[in-house]
């Protein structure tokens, strides 16, 4: 027997620092496409990989994030009654949002790397998106330690225990938000949290439009909310959710590239409009159905959260049902839960848990249909 004299590299399995294999590999493949060649089956492969898919979602989120940063500064300046100009506002908001990003990525990626290290696997790219989403769906004034705890909870119990990206059944970013909401409700709702450093300024209420949902159009109008400022996003709210314009730019990117499902987006909008319309018919509210699309987190949730390919329905028919129910449930919650009118988070999380059931029904009925198919020759 010839002895294997070739020593494994420093970071290779069996090498001196072999335990760091996953981490080094993650940075290495981040910089350079791996040299792996196909071993079985198809000898050539498409140029797309999960890194590319994820980076496109991040790219699509950038407009919402940039707008959110500016809006954080703008809302603060509105509240304190001093408007120093666009760039000052953006810079101020950037400095407020940056720590959220740092906490989200440092805590989340540390857990991802540690998990991959323990399992001896490659690091998944999924957290690149989740980590970008989380700061955009929380109030800007959320204490950083709370955010850290929420991120840790979401990554460990939302993802890693199921086996990492692709195996989870709940959207990790939404799980982080749900964790914050149920653990620290005072920091997540009401009219106090949406504007950074309000410092007791009472010039404006600071409440999001959803607060006035129960009171109808007059209350919305009296507090300065019009369809167009809610569409443009110059209103208080979670960092990234306010501007429907910025979200639509993102929607265009992920729909064009085929990363997200247009079926889910379209049916979610249809569900929200239908329930919103029924609501106005029955006299639950006098707010027109299309207002539901620009209020609160509906647009952001529909475009970036409901369409998460892992946690949404997997079958094409299932996507129609899933999306429709997300939109319909969201508006239903808005109508009947005045205490916490933001229905999008819970609607998506609930439908995440139902997505496998929807898929099961779709595939079972397809199997039955297939069994009945007769030979045409």
């Amino acid at each position: 027997m010839e002895e294997n004299t070739v020593k494994p590299g420093l970071f290779e399995k069996g090498g001196k620092l072999g335990w760091l294999h996953s981490t080094v590999d993650a940075f290495d493949t981040f910089l350079r496409v791996p040299a792996t060649v196909t071993a079985k089956g198809s000898h050539v492969r498409d140029a797309i990989d999960i890194k590319r898919v994820m980076i496109i979602v991040v790219l699509a989120l950038v407009p919402a994030a940039l707008f959110g940063m500016w809006n954080v500064g703008y809302q603060h300046d509105l509240a304190v009654g001093d408007l120093p100009g666009f760039w000052r506002q953006f810079w101020w908001g950037f400095l407020k949002v940056l720590p959220l990003y740092l906490v989200s990525y440092i805590v989340g990626l540390a857990i991802e790397f540690a998990g991959a290290q323990i399992k001896g696997e490659e690091v998944n790219e999924g957290y690149l998106v989740s980590g970008f989403l989380i700061p955009l769906i929380v109030p800007v004034d959320v204490p950083l330690w709370m955010l850290a705890v929420a991120v840790a909870f979401a990554v460990i119990f939302g993802k890693e225990v199921f086996g990492g990206t692709g195996m989870n059944f709940l959207n990790p970013a939404l799980l982080a938000r749900a964790f914050l909401f149920f653990s620290y409700p005072s920091k997540m709702s009401g009219s106090e949290v949406w504007i950074a450093h309000r410092c007791g300024a009472d010039a404006i209420t600071g409440a999001t439009p959803l607060t006035f949902l129960g009171d109808g159009m007059d209350a919305l109008g009296a507090n300065g909310y019009t369809f167009w400022n809610m569409f443009a996003g110059t209103i208080p709210g979670s960092v990234g959710e306010t501007s429907v314009i910025a979200i639509l730019i993102g929607a265009f990117i992920i729909l064009w590239t085929g990363v997200a499902s247009w079926k889910i987006m379209l049916s979610s909008v249809a569900g929200a409009l239908l329930v919103g319309w029924i609501g106005t018919l029955c006299g639950v509210t006098d707010i027109p159905a299309y207002y539901q699309l620009v209020m609160g987190g509906f647009a952001f949730g529909t475009v970036f959260m409901a369409t998460d390919p892992v946690t949404s329905a997997q079958t094409e028919t299932g996507k129609w049902i899933y999306g429709f129910l997300v939109g319909a449930l969201c508006v239903t919650v808005r109508f009947f839960n005045p205490g916490y009118a933001e229905g999008m988070m819970l609607a998506i999380l609930l439908m995440n848990t139902f997505a496998p059931l929807i898929d099961h029904c779709v595939t079972s009925s397809a199997t039955k249909r297939r069994a009945k198919k007769v030979s045409i020759v």
């Binding site: 079985k40 990206t165 692709g166 997997q314």
Partner: protein, 466 residues
């Protein structure tokens, strides 16, 4: 007069309907734009010194040696028999001397190498008109000649069982695989042989032939029902896809499939009484020096086919197409079922920030996440790089877009991964072979070896159902 006219109209309508019912429309799929298409000219006839008989080409064949090194054989002499069914034989395509029994790990029999004497003396199986034969006579001749293993049974893609009468026999008379040999060109002189092969098979079961247009040279074949597949993309030419639209395979059913090469050989066997396996082989791929057609036998060393290659470039030799062909190495031999050799570069270079590069015009992607759609006519110099690491399934809709079958590919793949027999049945394991899901594997952003997963699932089914 008027009545007559109406009658004529009705008749015409009826006849168009009949043709219509023989058409299959397929939209889904993908053509991989790889460079190195073979020019439609036949360069020369390759007369190899050594020809290999490879039992590994036939799924479900466990070989027992019938010859030893130094034995004299004729074209058509049995070389290997199946251990389970000793009537199923593999025969030598040339006359000569058994030179070597090649074995691999654990003494697995890889190939019997026959040194050709260049004379091509054949065993005489007796020329017969196939239309006058019984099913038993056809089977007997095919078994003796060694052409029986060219009949593939579905489900599972194994050698057909001679004791079984299949529901039907299916033949695809066109190929849509990347750079595949053009059937119209490769078989233009073999039409009579293909017809005789079909006539022979029609003695056993009903034969269905799928052509890609009504003007195809195969559209006029008789003793078979001809169906037209209206489609522009791969895998419409895969016989499995065609079967799933014509007569889906259910539990307990078997169908047989043959490719045109096998039919031509069967036809020649009945017409001349001899085993003639010669075929036009397309040498293709970005690494091929001059992509063109050559005449050769199955088992021909691929080195002879490939000609002089650039020694600086590490080349992968694939018997078949880039999606489902076998990596046989530079010292390998052309497969029994193949009339294509694809040569591509091994992709061991590492691209800086490849995934982040917005343009990356030298790489092909079917996804809109890159900009290949801007260059619809471009042919790519593809290599074997995976372009990414293996991940869990993330995207859910990319697979169905390239599979024109009524299946849920990811569900089937996951059932195979889990080894869940019931779920595999439910999601259609009887209808597929790995090759049918090859495009799913190509487009998979998670870089899973989908064909290997399906193949493992099929092996499990064979074991459990035996």
């Amino acid at each position: 007069m008027k009545n007559e006219y109406i009658c004529k109209l009705k008749k015409e309508k009826l006849s168009t309907q009949k043709i219509m019912s023989n058409k299959i429309y397929l939209k889904k799929g993908l053509n991989i734009p790889i460079s190195g298409e073979a020019a439609l000219e036949t360069k020369k006839k390759i007369v190899p010194d050594v020809v290999a008989v490879k039992p590994t080409d036939f799924k479900g064949f466990s070989p027992r040696l019938l010859v030893k090194e130094g034995d004299k054989v004729l074209a058509g002499s049995p070389v290997l028999a199946d251990k389970q069914n000793p009537d199923i034989l593999l025969t030598s395509p040339v006359s000569g001397t058994v030179k070597e029994i090649a074995r691999g790990e654990k003494r697995k029999l890889l190939a019997v190498l026959v040194e050709s004497d260049g004379e091509r003396q054949s065993v005489d199986f007796g020329a017969k008109d196939p239309s006058g034969l019984t099913a038993g006579e056809v089977k007997g001749t095919l078994l003796k000649s060694g052409l029986w293993p060219s009949i593939v049974q579905r489900p599972y893609g194994i050698i057909a069982d001679p004791a079984v009468t299949p529901k039907a026999v299916f033949v695809s008379a066109f190929s849509t695989a990347p750079l595949a040999a053009d059937c119209e060109y490769a078989f233009k002189d073999e039409l009579e042989a293909v017809q005789a092969g079909i006539t022979a098979m029609s003695r056993i079961a009903k034969v269905h032939v799928c052509v890609n247009s009504e003007s195809s040279i195969f559209a006029k074949l008789s003793d078979a029902t001809v169906h037209t597949v209206v489609a522009r993309k791969h895998p419409a030419g895969n016989v499995g896809v065609q079967i799933s639209h014509l007569s889906p395979i259910k539990k307990g059913e078997t169908v047989w499939t043959l490719n045109l090469l096998s039919l031509a050989a069967i036809g020649k066997l009945f017409k001349t009484g001899k085993l003639v396996l010669d075929r036009k082989v397309a040498v293709t791929g970005p690494a091929a020096k001059e992509p063109a057609y050559f005449e050769a036998l199955p088992g021909t060393p691929v080195k002879a086919l490939a000609g002089q290659l650039d020694p600086e470039v590490e080349v992968r030799f694939i018997s078949g197409d880039v999606l489902s062909g076998e990596n046989i190495g530079a010292d390998g031999y052309l497969g029994f079922f193949d009339n294509q050799l694809t040569l591509i570069k091994e992709g061991r270079e590492r691209e800086m920030l490849g995934w982040a590069n917005p343009l990356r015009f030298n790489q092909f992607s079917s996804s809109m996440a890159y900009f290949s759609w801007l260059l619809p006519k471009k042919k790519y110099n593809m290599d074997t790089n995976t372009h990414g690491g293996v991940r869990a399934f993330v995207c859910s809709d990319v697979y169905g877009k390239v599979l024109p079958m009524d299946l849920f590919p990811v569900y089937l793949i996951k059932a195979c991964l889990a080894g869940d027999i019931d779920k595999m049945e439910q999601f259609g394991i009887y209808e597929v072979l790995p090759e049918d899901l090859a495009l799913c594997e190509f487009v998979d952003p998670s870089k899973n070896d989908i064909q290997a997963i399906i193949s493992k699932g099929i092996d499990l089914m064979i074991k459990e159902m035996a």
